[in-house]
């Protein structure tokens, strides 16, 4: 395991200065009805000037609590129990509330996950920003306004004068997050805390915001505490990483050490459970972390990760290990890290499962056929309206044609607003198509779900994005799973209960959950219930609309494995919709890239995500944060977000945002479908040969895993 010589480059490029934040053995306790809860224990970390420290972990690991505890901004029942926090050498633990308030905003900037809730909706953005300048920098109105404009132009805000006069809801998510960043940086704070600042944004917008933060970091010389669950973002943004589990930091190291030579099994598991952009690994089971994160009130004796660890042995269960330095700058709490644990098992994982079969676009074995489906919505929806009506239409889907083969998976990718979800809802009949046909096994289906016979309903089922809203908390798990069996399978009585439990066990839900209600289950378990319900009547096609997007990475991996197992066992076809390209790549045989209600590129999964590709696919791929600090992606950025498809752009619908737009031909003529060969089609004016040449410096998406292969 030799460090790649290029590794020093990153550190040398931006020398870290004196320590800004020093957290020493910090304990944070919440007073609850059940007694004190030690949410964060013994946390020690240092961030220097011009350095960014990433804080990763599953939800419930205490990341945000630690960050908020550092700036003493805890809920009423939370308090710092022990340890010290020093900001620029000054101890924060003893400060009075008034002194703390002066510190927030002036020395500490915070960017939260949702920009819409971070700003007051009833005050103009300009006024909110200027307030920081008048309050913390003592500027008068005129100077504050100038400073605000200056900051807005620093965050690359187009037309800042105009933004000042707008209310938060009048600004798009990405732009709003820029305002929040501008606000956080207004007073040039020494410490910037970013709590999942891009999680709520689209991949393309995320890429733009991340670029911005990178650029600003150098300019402002701040120390950044970056909290996220996304290892790809960490790889891109951070210099050092602290991995948290159940309230403790279990590993702390430089970015390269974490990604190339992780020493703690938890860190390693987190890296293993994200799908890779590697066609040879597609459709193979991901390594996942068994069980769920330990609750801080029920910690095991010994190592807190012990119960979920593959490498646990006697000594791990008796005493709780602390952090120790195992390599320069790398600290881990695993006692077994010297045993070279990981080399052997990687090979095991690679050996099983056959490589993915190629699917031909001329394949006649079609289960679902979507032909020229168009869906229009009225621009403004409402009931009786007197006077003029808005007769404009939203073209959510525009002549979309696709098909799914028996036992195959069609992956659909695109930004939000590209029509992915409308497509799913049109196929299943929740939104009847305006024109075009959806056929199953050659038979044309009625557009509306209410008009379809039970025999058809049985064959197409759906897994929704959010199990919180797709499961009714007033019905038990058993009732939810039994209903489709009873209704579509005609099962009754004792047989019904038996089959329901079998359906639950197929998704690895224990039978004792039969009488539980969904709100008593964890997120991952709830989504399993939703999957069990969709599969209960044994459908031929299951439409999955972002089924894993709202879940933790480790749970995502387990659910992807589950979907793959179910597919192998039952030969079910999937329509898998996601904005997560890696997940789509991992599960799909065919991939369709959708923009403004139209397919831009489609074909065999491996071909679509390798050059040559459509400029839109290229931009999407280049925006994906890859969990590898060495990956070199070209910066291809799309400006703005998907426009509302009321008036579709003329010619190629992507031309206004296309970085490779050829000019008049793109804005005037509809592009042709070009056959690239190898079952791969691209909807673009640029000749295939040119597209191929564009990719000379191709995007490296397959992470090189030094020291692991």
């Amino acid at each position: 395991m030799v460090l790649d010589p290029g590794g020093g480059e990153r550190a040398a490029q931006r020398p870290a200065g004196e320590p800004v934040l020093e957290v020493d053995q910090l304990d944070i306790v919440y007073e609850t009805d059940g007694g004190p809860l030690a949410a964060v224990r013994n946390a020690t970390l240092t961030i220097r000037r011009n350095e960014s420290l990433g804080l990763v972990g599953e939800s419930g690991s205490g990341k945000s609590t630690l960050a908020m505890g550092v700036i003493r901004y805890l809920a009423d029942n939370g308090r710092v129990d022990a340890g010290s926090v020093r900001l620029l050498g000054r101890d924060l633990t003893g400060l009075k509330p008034s002194e703390l308030r002066r510190l927030w905003g002036a020395q500490i900037g915070v960017v939260y996950q949702s920009p819409l809730t971070a700003l007051t909706p009833t005050i103009k953005v300009g006024k909110q920003l200027a307030e920081i300048a008048t309050l913390h920098l003592g500027m008068d109105k005129q100077h504050a306004r100038e400073r605000t404009l200056e900051m807005l132009s620093k965050v690359a805000m187009p037309d800042p004068e105009n933004i000042l006069e707008r209310y938060p809801h009048q600004i798009s998510g990405g732009m709003l997050q820029r305002c929040v960043i501008a606000m956080a940086l207004m007073a040039n704070p020494a410490l910037l805390i970013m709590d999942e600042p891009t999680t709520a944004l689209d991949v393309t917008t995320q890429a733009v915001v991340l670029d911005l933060v990178q650029d600003l970091k150098d300019e402002f010389d701040s120390a950044i505490l970056y909290i996220t669950h996304d290892l790809g973002v960490i790889a891109k943004m951070c210099d050092r990483v602290a991995v948290m589990y159940a309230g403790e930091i279990v590993e702390k190291a430089t970015i390269r050490q974490i990604f190339k030579e992780p020493q703690h099994p938890y860190t390693r598991s987190l890296l293993e459970c994200i799908p890779r952009f590697d066609p040879s690994c597609a459709k193979k089971p991901l390594l996942t972390i068994p069980g769920v994160i330990a609750r801080v009130d029920e910690l095991p004796d010994g190592c807190i990760f012990g119960p979920r660890c593959d490498y646990v042995e006697e000594q791990c269960t008796t005493s709780r290990p602390g952090l120790r330095e195992v390599a320069p700058g790398q600290f881990t709490s695993c006692t077994r890290c010297d045993d070279n644990l990981f080399a052997a098992c990687r090979a095991d994982a690679d050996s099983d499962a056959a490589p993915r079969e190629r699917v031909s676009l001329s394949d006649a074995d079609r289960l679902l056929d979507v032909l020229d489906v168009t869906k229009h919505f009225p621009a403004v929806q409402g009931g009786l309206r007197f006077g003029r009506r808005d007769r404009r239409l939203v073209h959510a889907l525009d002549a979309t044609s696709l098909w799914v083969g028996h036992g195959r998976t069609l992956g659909i990718v695109g930004e939000s607003g590209s029509g992915k979800t409308t497509l799913a809802r049109t196929i299943i009949g929740l939104e009847p198509a305006t024109s075009g046909t959806v056929s199953l096994n050659g038979g044309v289906l009625a557009p509306a779900v209410d008009k379809r016979p039970r025999s058809i309903l049985k064959e197409i089922q759906m897994v929704f994005q959010n199990p919180d809203s797709s499961l009714n908390n007033h019905r038990t798990v058993g009732e939810a799973v039994a209903r489709p069996l009873r209704l579509l399978g005609g099962v009754r009585g004792q047989e019904l209960r038996r089959r329901t439990i079998a359906a639950m066990e197929a998704v690895q839900l224990p039978a004792r959950y039969y009488d539980r209600r969904p709100n008593e289950l964890s997120q991952g378990e709830r989504q399993r219930v939703a999957i069990a319900r969709a599969f209960a009547a044994d459908p031929q096609l299951v439409i999955c609309d972002e089924p894993i997007s709202s879940l933790d990475v480790s749970v995502q991996g387990a659910l992807m494995n589950l979907l793959l197992t179910l597919q192998t066992e039952r030969d079910t076809s999937y329509l898998f919709i996601s904005h997560d390209l890696a997940a789509v790549q991992h599960l799909s045989d065919l991939i369709a890239v959708v923009y403004l209600g139209h397919v831009m590129e489609w074909g065999d999964a491996a071909r679509v995500l390798t050059p040559p590709y459509h400029p839109y696919t290229e931009a999407l791929l280049s925006a994906v944060p890859v969990a590898d600090p060495d990956s070199r992606q070209p910066r291809i950025r799309l400006s703005g977000s998907v426009p509302t498809p009321i008036d579709l752009p003329s010619g190629c619908r992507f031309h206004p945002r296309c970085p490779r737009c050829l000019g008049d031909i793109c804005s005037q003529k509809e592009p042709p479908w070009q056959d690239v060969g190898d079952d791969h089609r691209i909807y673009c004016h640029i000749p295939v040969e040119d597209l191929r040449n564009l990719e000379a410096g191709s995007i490296e998406l397959v992470p090189s895993r030094g020291g692991r292969s």
Binding site: G383, G429, L457, S469, S470, N472, H474, R475, L487, R533
Partner: protein, 263 residues
Amino acid sequence: MIGIIVFLCFIVLAVFGPWIAPYSYTEQVPSLRLLAPSLAHPFGTDPFGRDVLSRVIVGTRTVVLLSGLGTLFAVVIGSPLGMLSGYTGGLVDEVIMRTLDVFLSIPSLLLAIVLLSTLGPSSRNLLIVLTVLYAPMIARVVRSMTLDLKNKEFVEAARVRGDKTSYILFREVFPGAIAPLLVEASMRFSYAIFLVASLGFLGLGVQPPSPDWGLLISEARDFFTLAPWTLLFPAAAIGLLVVSVNLMTDGFRQMLQPERGGL
């Protein structure tokens, strides 16, 4: 808690009133007219020598029964209307809701007086009035809950597996609307108590010699300076019942939506 205990006491009075009351509520003893509260007559006596305590106790039944049944009918009629309106949307929604708006736009007491003076005062007509008045309000609450719930994906999941609209409404949507419905209904109940008493006072409710609280107050009006207790105790009974129902409503609200901590 206190609300529930007090309310339960009223229920006991309503059910067993005639047996609990120390005297007959109609028994007139001319020699004991307008007596001040004493041990024998804790609430005093009225101008006809009837025991006020007994009359208040026996009167509980009419008030609780009328307002309770009225609210119940309003719920039974209002909930399906609200669900249907919210779930179907479009023209059906507009027609139902605008019709209900007509009822809501007229002040309730005025509407009640007009209806009762047309239909004639009787217990049955009083129930009709309460239902007509409160069903639209119940319908609105249920409708807004339905609007919220019908876009949930579990409703779509039910449609996708071919469940009938009636099943979706009563098994998937209605359970989610029960909590706010219960809060709304108990609030309507306390308003109904006021209304029944007001109408009794105006002579449009239950007719004499029934010991309705509103009626008691109305009868006692002329003797207020002479015998304030004849007015005070029925009024206090109304107040106490309404407060106990309100406390109970608050309790429901906190129990059913603890995250909001009571509005």
